[in-house]
Symmetry: C2
Subunit: 328 residues, 2 copies
């Protein structure tokens, strides 16, 4: 672990990432395969995972340039999963633009995703040799868990007896492990010891869980204008969120019966309002807030325990706080 002379802010890391990724686009043949990939990656959203990865490299005194290929890999892989998820969810829009599925059909979206998946691995093959094997192992474990998490999510759709712990395991796999693995990969590239890069993995894991429950929370209790989508979208789809699962578990017999009736309610306002009423009775808002806070604090404890100068952790703390306090 080299001595850090200065530490990069999140915006600096983001700017560096964007500058480097643009250089390396998918200018390849056949265009019919690579054009949709370029469109997808140009509309690539918040780039949280690659930015976290590079911040972790920086935290441990490594050069962010050494982390770039791993960062590209993580971001291309994440977008691959979204391309395939959009088929499964029959989603027409992603970040305000038509999905590959909607624009080009199922077959193209399958193939585009498969190609992105392999190009993520192509980037991984360029990770510095001294940590190549460790980084690839962390990535592969997380990547497999993401697919397993997606399967759990699909399985839950058919079930009414999902426990909160099962739900937490599902979102851990589907959402958190890639955030956590990105941080761990970055830390390994930055030269962190085993114990230290395991701590940053835990930081990412709990931050990711907190992030996902906040997502569930905002769907019911956010302000529609800020969230940028209609409040109650999850409720309308009977989506098994932390809120709904907690409600199903905490409801008495009468409340449960009302909830199940609302699943089939066709009047949208009646449905959303009915579920929100039950959530109020069951104190779901307070329970969600408590869980989000608990997980956020756990993530900070892991960050706390990492043995580098406290001031170096500042950018990650700022990012975690922003994630935690977002109201959209």
């Amino acid at each position: 672990m080299a001595e850090n002379t200065s530490i990069l802010q999140m915006t600096e890391v983001a700017a560096l990432y964007d500058k480097q990724f643009k250089k390396d686009n998918f200018n390849l043949e056949p265009k019919s395969l690579y054009d949709p990939i370029n469109v997808t990656m140009a509309n690539s959203g918040k780039r949280i995972r690659p930015i976290l990865l590079l911040m972790a490299t920086d935290l441990f005194g490594g050069s962010v340039y050494d982390g770039l290929n791993a960062a590209f890999a993580v971001e291309v892989f994440h977008n691959f999963t979204l391309v395939h998820d959009d088929i499964m969810d029959e989603a027409h829009l992603r970040r305000g633009k038509p999905t590959v599925y909607k624009e080009h059909g199922i077959n193209k979206a399958i193939l585009v995703g498969d190609a992105m998946h392999l190009h993520a691995h192509r980037y991984l093959l360029k990770v510095p040799a001294n940590c190549f094997s460790d980084v690839l192992n962390v990535f592969n474990k997380a990547a497999i868990e993401i697919i397993e998490g997606q399967q759990m999510d699909m399985d839950f759709e058919e079930r009414l007896d999902v426990t909160v712990n099962e739900y937490l395991k599902m979102i851990e796999f589907k959402t958190s492990v890639l955030l956590a693995a990105a941080l761990q990969m970055g830390a390994i590239i930055g030269g962190a010891s085993n114990s230290e890069h395991e701590k940053i993995y835990q930081f990412g894991l709990n931050l990711g869980l907190s992030f996902q429950i906040k997502d569930d929370y905002l769907d019911a209790f956010g302000e529609g204008d800020k969230v940028g989508k209609r409040i109650g979208g999850d409720i309308l789809r009977n989506k098994k969120t932390f809120l709904l699962i907690t409600a199903l578990n905490d409801a008495d017999e009468a409340q449960r019966a009302r909830l199940l009736t609302l699943f089939d309610e066709k009047d949208e306002d009646k449905k959303v309002n009915g579920v929100l009423e039950l959530y109020a009775e069951l104190k779901i808002k307070e329970k969600s807030e408590a869980k989000i806070e608990e997980l956020y604090q756990k993530s900070l404890e892991s960050l706390q325990s990492i043995r580098v100068k406290e001031e170096y952790k500042e950018p990650l703390k700022v990012m975690a706080k922003a994630v935690h306090e977002r109201d959209y």
Copy 2:
């Protein structure tokens, strides 16, 4: 390169592969994801690619045990591509059993394929460290080309002006590169020098091309009983095979017009017989046979040029001959 004391026959390699793969099945959770993978891998066909890989390791004096994880990777990856191809082709049967797509629907088949894809990479991570990076690079290049080849194949469906060279490039990517890469990976693991493992790649590439054109050939000129499927299946689907592309390129104006009319013919017998008649006029049978023979001879020349004892090549020669002379 170690000195070989004896060389394994294809059947011995196949038996060893099967014994080892059975030990290491997908006994994982969630079952809803892994059961279809186990079913797919249990119905895994001829295992040509992993067997070739292990034979190449053996050829250069390596231990076939060192090649096993790469062999598993190649076979699981190949089956992943089939699971996704079956969605795209809306195929109901694969090797006489229902496809994952048919049995479980599109979403499950996408996810099952993605999981197999990642598990192929999991096996790759266990390749011996001394050749890890080289083996992964060969694999990744081939894997990307397979997806590109699949896209070319889909693009060709919309076109009537595909050239023979374009077709050859497509089947090279879609079919041959994985055979070739399997041999090259095996050779690298066996300790072959760069020049030698490039030669065995060329052997596999030309054998694969010859194999694919033979496949096209048997659909029109094979004996239905032996091929195990109805003769003319490709003709009925207007599939852009070597035969059809050669015919489209060699036809005069009148013949081309007849061919295009036959594309829309609804009477199946009339369609198959009409196309076969045109193939006879255009000597498509003879032209295909010449191409198959040319590519087979090219593959043998590459094998010939490899600098190991001639007798060690015997099992690969036997396998190539069997592939070449098959009538099913």
